[in-house]
Amino acid sequence: MADAVIVVALLLTAASATAAVATRDPARQALVLAVLGLLLGVVFTVLQAPDVGLSQLAVGSALTPLLIMLSVRKVRRRGKEGDK
Amino acid sequence: MTRRTALAAAAELLAWWAGLVLLWLVFISTVDTLERIVGASVAAVGALLARAGRRSVIWR
């Protein structure tokens, strides 16, 4: 019965991955990617792989969103400068 | 750096250092001499960064 948590974690990860693909706007996608990283961390923990889970949490919760949002900000600023 | 500010700086660093050493002792499971040495040096680096961070934010 300990598989119940594996099934739930996998289903949530599949749903969040689909949501990440379905979201078109990069800023909103970064939000969904952050939650996806979190759920992947849970999947790795549940499958008894804490090292991989730790890597996923370390990178996915703060570093990836920061990189994506900085790029989005640069592209949006470059867009505004171009129109002026 | 008058004597007073040097004292204040040392007190702040010491306070941060003590707090971070306690934090390190809470984190680790088995406590032995090597852990204490590594913990003390890591806490020192953390204290320096804490002070540098506070000063960089306030000093305009």
């Binding site: 970064a30 939000l31 939650v35 849970v42 949490l57 703060a62 | 809470v26």
Partner: protein, 150 residues
């Protein structure tokens, strides 16, 4: 199937599902709040899993999430500040309930582990999680136009 893993599953399904649904749909302000809540909900479930599997080394995962989760929300609060100025996301009710759930889980686990350094570690994680959650929601609801530093 011990109770801890069952509790973690329930928390993961309810909290994780709600946070995922919140972050995937609706206005931007609600999505950001949902992302903040996802950290506050999944960290206690990691703690419960650590207790359920009987491995204290898994507590480091919850510690890391309690530290970096709010940092991720601060990233969004900071870099989406101009888009969030329109509708202020002030979901304080949800924030406090999630913080309450986290606190309850941490206290129960502290009671189980008994007075030891491991219990202090759990308390540190609980404190980091709740303070991070509150500060992140404070940053989301207009924190980044706040008082100018002296």
């Amino acid at each position: 199937m011990n109770g801890w893993i069952l509790a973690a599953t329930v928390l993961l399904t309810a909290g994780g599902g709600a946070a995922l649904w919140g972050v995937a749909t609706g206005p931007l302000s609600r999505r950001v709040v949902a992302q903040n809540l996802s950290t506050t909900v999944i960290c206690p479930s990691l703690l419960l899993l650590a207790q359920g599997y009987g491995r204290t080394s898994y507590v480091d995962l919850a510690l890391l999430l309690a530290l970096l989760g709010p940092v991720g929300t601060l990233v969004f609060a900071r870099l989406l500040a101009d888009e969030l100025t329109g509708d202020r996301p002030a979901a304080w009710g949800l924030t406090w309930t999630a913080a309450g759930v986290g606190a309850a889980v941490v206290l129960v686990l502290c009671a189980v582990t008994g007075p030891s350094r491991a219990m202090v570690k759990l308390l540190v994680i609980g404190a980091l999680l709740i303070s991070g959650n509150v500060v992140a929601s404070r940053a989301l609801s207009g924190g980044l136009r706040g008082v100018r530093d002296g």
